[in-house]
Symmetry: C2
Subunit: 347 residues, 2 copies
């Protein structure tokens, strides 16, 4: 059975002949140019559909001749996850260059809405597409909508602004990620009752808040025997997280699980090992880095919930390119999964 029949490759000329029109008319139909009668449009489109004709992308790209420019607006600072995304973008440079695409990184304080909005406003007109790690704020939403209105394709990355008219979101469902963490905690601690601690960067971060929401949802509905301690805020900082967790462990000898919503995993792990309780406590955190990989292999960390930064980088570029070319997006391919990583399925 052949998925794709091997037929002589059709060209626009063939379509024109079969539809009984000229090349120019086919071109007008194909690019929604005016000056074609509705029934002629229909006849051409039917011929295209009947023959399952798709313009040769290589020829189209070559003829269009334009290089495309994309901008990636990323947070300043040393967030390892963001740095991984940037690194993977760098690895694509040969791929990009062979397609006459350019990607420029623009580092901004994405946590200050006015700064972020101002950054976005400056991009208007200069780029064919923009990927942005966005804060959900009215000013940012307006800036995104302005870009869209100016004809720029916009995708949100890692963190979404659903209320804007962005064309696409590349990232995970953080509520589902939190629910996954909750289910894992509940299942891994076994039958015994006890206390569960949660530490996040800040409740003000949308992704952290959503994860906490999902986590609490599952704990309340399915593992009510477990006692959830009040949320700690470690500000994604190793030292601060370590101190907070150390104190907490001293105070509660009956903690059986720990969920770190954001960064600062190294600090939490240090507190755990210094208390000598890394084997008894089920520890779940986010993201795969050299450090979390080590902690998983050691057994200090039980599960890392992660999203694949390389996949996100490539998906964002591909989606922007498809949008710019008015091609359909392979949604199944660009969908980012919530990865559950344990010691034995590390990539």
């Amino acid at each position: 059975m052949a998925v794709e029949t091997v037929s002589a490759a059709l060209t626009l000329k063939d379509i024109a002949r079969e539809a009984g029109v000229s090349l120019a008319t086919v071109d007008r139909v194909l690019h929604n140019r005016p000056g074609v009668r509705p029934d002629t449009v229909r006849r051409v489109q039917e011929t295209i559909a009947r023959n399952a004709f798709h313009p040769h992308v290589a020829a189209a790209e070559l003829a269009r001749g334009r290089a495309r420019r994309f901008a990636f607006v990323m947070p300043t600072g040393a967030n390892p996850f963001m740095q991984q995304i940037e690194a993977y973008l760098g690895e694509m440079s040969a791929w990009l260059s062979a397609r006459r695409l350019s990607v420029e990184l623009i580092n901004t304080d994405v946590f200050d809405p006015s700064v972020l909005a101002a950054s976005l406003e400056t991009l208007s007109g200069d780029y064919d597409g923009v990927a942005v790690v966005a804060l959900d704020h009215p000013g940012v939403r307006a800036a995104i909508n302005d870009l869209v209105d100016a004809g720029t394709k916009v995708v949100t990355l890692v963190s979404d602004v659903p209320s804007s008219r962005r064309h696409h979101y590349v990232g995970i469902d953080n509520i589902a990620a939190g629910r996954t963490a909750g289910a894992l905690v509940g299942r891994l601690v076994g039958e015994k009752p006890g206390k569960v601690a949660i530490i996040a960067g800040s409740q003000g971060l949308r992704d952290h808040a959503e994860r906490i929401f999902g986590f609490n949802q599952v704990m309340a509905s399915e593992f009510s025997r477990l006692d959830i301690l009040p949320l700690l805020e470690g500000r994604d900082d190793d030292d601060r997280s370590e101190q907070l967790i150390s104190r907490l462990l001293d105070k509660h000898p009956d903690i059986i699980s720990l969920y770190n919503v954001g960064a600062g995993t190294q600090g939490v792990a240090k507190a755990l090992t210094e208390a000598g309780r890394e084997k008894q406590i089920v520890f779940i955190a986010h993201d795969l880095t050299a450090m979390t990989r080590r902690l998983l292999l050691q057994g200090t960390l039980d599960v890392a919930i992660s999203q694949n930064p390389g996949h996100e980088a490539r998906a964002a570029v591909r989606v922007l390119l498809s949008l710019a070319r008015n091609e359909p997006i392979l949604s199944e391919q660009e969908n980012i999964r919530i990865d559950i990583l344990m010691r034995d399925n590390l990539p």
Copy 2:
């Protein structure tokens, strides 16, 4: 910081001018054609490297003008995982057609080495690339090597033949998948001791054997308190698996976990629910289908370990294309992960 500087796009002509040679010479160097003095070759290559020049893929593809044919040799029969791969190949038809690529499915009894080898031999010369779900057998290995020698690019899919000279393997490490299953069983059953049952399609299948090996490895080294029952062979058949498991559950009231290595998950689930023990027994199986999804949501199935069939289909095509074009392969992108799927992180 710009990942990719926005420079005027270079062309072959620019390279020729900068290296002080003609277009023809650059072309000879680029395609390893003879008749160029070694130091001229070096000079041109240095110019290319210095400018990080990559030939425009669209122009190259158009100029080359050849349509490329790929063949996918897949098992006959109703294996749902293979059918999903075939379905995803079908979904790519527009993408393929726009690139003048064709993919043909060839269904063969891949479990009969001589039939598979004969099938592969018939392909020689007709295709630019072949993806094959291969049995690891000397005859098959020889057939693969013959294809490679004839200049055809070969990737093994889902199941590898490491001893052959195939160019690439697209699939997971099944030993690691088995280890992952073992670790999950050990962690999810909690502290209590009890019996663990394993059912596979057949020990003769390489992927099943590897999963069992990995599973036993982890059980022996880390969860020796658990008692592993002798392996059952369900032949990937629902009815047979149901009967075997029903009988087993009757005989052993102290079974606390069940690992299904292959297909037949529906039969196993039926036996579990009819015995009324689906909530007490930790049940782990492979692959995500409509049925395993339903079982996960119901709570009958605790974890599905899977490989993403859409990703495998696309990765196989992309790898074949890169090989045919003599382009580098983005290994991180084409690497297939072992997915741990639970109720809350279903895609």
